[in-house]
Symmetry: C2
Subunit: 374 residues, 2 copies
């Protein structure tokens, strides 16, 4: 239902004077003390509603009259809206439903459609109230079905915090200080798998899409971990999906951080070594052109690999693990101090175990070894 | 300017029949061969514009008449819009400006305001054209100033991909297959700093905000890396900001991955060891209650630390590095094969150097050591 059409206010701007440093419009009417200036947003109509006294001011009686006549020619709802605004019964403009967060802020989660003007008025009233109460951060979660309300939040000064497929999260900071709201997620996480059998052959694939397609280049299986997925499980999953090979995660051998990898986001790519548990390849037809166990020297001799520093290092650390005593980081589950959740902690387990086992031969008063580089 | 108001179509729905499997409305009018059914979006008005022949169909002549009369009572622009639609001059509905991406898709970057109905019609026409051309992914980048256009893209089937402070990126997949568009960023990246001086004192802070505030608990300096910032540089920056201490990055000793850390996003926390280059503390007043060099045994004896597995492990790996020969991952800059960009690659440099130096005593035909665990 077009509530906006019923209220007669397509894109009508409703401004209010807002106390505090971050008042965009300012209070310039000294005579009234707190009435701001009218802000015409569209050529249709603009009204100025003072949030302190809720009276309609701005372009004079003509607009107020027009407001009422449009309201009376529409449904009951919009008439109630117009009258609430006009008579200054602040109790009629309800605050938006919210919950408190743990940092002195509030979260509004909209779930049902709402008349945009009612939303706008409620939002203003809510912000005013929360500012008085010393609330700091204000979040609004708008599902994609309520995309029509976004512009009204933006008009109040909200900015975008993040979006997922089905919702947009907007944020606002009430105090006149720099905000301390948490930043958005900045990284995608990828995995690359070094899987070697007992014939010194590595699992290698050719992909159907991407920059290397059609070039006949063999690469290690790689992929992006899914939202909420652990790195070690993601690596095992990617190898299974692309090649049909079952594996056991051993260690993270290295990782690379790159920026502006996609849009303006960053990328963390974890080089993982996995132990094969099966050996018969079934390639993933949708994405993989070909998959094979390839003698590691042949893999290494590819001209592309010779020119690609990252792949050369993957080979180096993989072979150092297989042939020498290279220690990467292996995962253990640890508990959180605050919740029941467990998380994977990756560390050099071999060196930590050695450190625990050996008695300390270094006297505690000596300068620690690594400080000696100073 | 309220183009929508001028055109008289607040929230009017304009639907079109779209060929292909993903046609929401379907083409059910066999007589015409390709005219879909009218879809009433609002109680105001709905018109059905066939994108193949561009004629106005649906509720019959009354609507077409209403369309023209509203158009004639409005500005020239909307009259042109109505006539373009009504006369079937498909050349009058321009495609939206776009660029090709590298994966067979297109990116529309809107920069200037646009009449929402014109946007909607152009978007439909563009999608139709691109579908014919075999285009796959379609991206629309909408700046926050054009938040009023979001709902029209959503009506065409676009979903949210990601948002930053000043824009929303929407995505759409034209083929009737599962999309292969890149996922959104999923992780925030944090750093924790183990900094020890030559008196076996660690740098410790008490924060003014967060879950530990007011509890008198001493913690390691921690923080979140900024968008586009490298982990090693972020760790040095955080220590400098919180305590005034200059440091040199040494290694990543360990890392932890956790999920649903904030909203539904994940977190990668890197435990870093830094070498202090200065020793006089100047705490950051805005965020830090207190900062000091604290005897490591005293730090470790805090009841909170005893109960907090992550902090205990940070202490363990830190002391193993300082006192024993624990090797973490140290960064080197490597080049990309495809661009001039360089990135940091973190690996166990000590073990890799050892592997390179030592001659291989293990015969190449023997089973690799790590395989013996099978």
């Amino acid at each position: 239902m077009d509530k906006r059409g019923e209220a007669g206010f397509p894109d009508a701007g409703v401004t209010g004077c807002r106390p505090g440093k971050r008042n965009k419009d300012g209070c310039k009417d000294e005579k009234d003390g707190h009435h701001g200036k009218e802000k015409k947003r569209e050529e249709v109509m603009a009204v100025h509603v003072c949030l302190i006294c809720s009276s309609v001011v701005g372009a004079g009686r003509r607009l107020r009259g027009e407001l009422r006549s449009r309201a009376m020619s529409s449904s009951t709802n919009s008439t109630v809206l117009a009258e609430s605004v006009a008579t200054g019964s602040s109790g009629d403009v309800e605050l938006l439903p919210f919950v408190n967060d743990k940092h002195g802020g509030v979260i509004i989660e909209m779930t049902a459609p709402m008349d945009p003007q009612l939303f706008s008025a409620s939002l203003k009233a809510s912000l005013s109230k929360w500012r008085e109460q010393g609330i700091r951060g204000v979040w609004i979660k708008l599902p994609i079905s309520l995309a029509n309300l976004i512009q009204y939040a933006v008009e109040e000064g909200f900015w975008y915090h993040h979006a997922e497929e089905t919702y947009l999260m907007l944020a606002y900071w009430l105090p006149a200080t720099t905000h301390t709201l948490p930043v958005n997620a900045t990284h995608r996480v990828g995995v690359g798998a070094f899987v070697m059998n007992d014939k010194r052959e590595v699992l290698a694939v050719q992909e159907k899409s991407g920059v290397l397609r059609g070039l006949g280049v063999w690469k290690f299986p790689t992929g992006v971990v899914e939202p909420g997925e652990d790195i070690n499980l993601g690596a095992v999953r990617e190898v299974k999906e692309e090649t049909g090979i079952d594996t056991e995660f051993v260690e993270v051998l290295a990782f690379r951080q790159s920026h502006k990898a996609f849009f303006d986001k960053s990328d963390l790519f974890f080089v993982c070594i996995l132990r094969p548990l099966s050996f018969d390849i079934t390639k993933q037809d949708s994405e993989i052109e070909a998959a094979q166990w390839m003698p590691v020297e042949e893999f290494a001799a590819q001209p592309f690999v010779q020119k690609h520093e990252l792949v050369k290092y993957i080979l180096e650390v993989g072979l150092a693990k297989v042939d020498k005593d290279y220690a990467g980081f292996s995962p253990i589950l640890i508990k959180s101090a605050f919740t029941d959740k467990k998380s994977f902690f990756y560390m050099n387990r071999r060196d930590l175990d050695k450190a625990s086992e050996s008695s300390s031969t270094q006297k505690k008063t000596e300068k620690p070894l690594f400080m000696e580089k100073l």
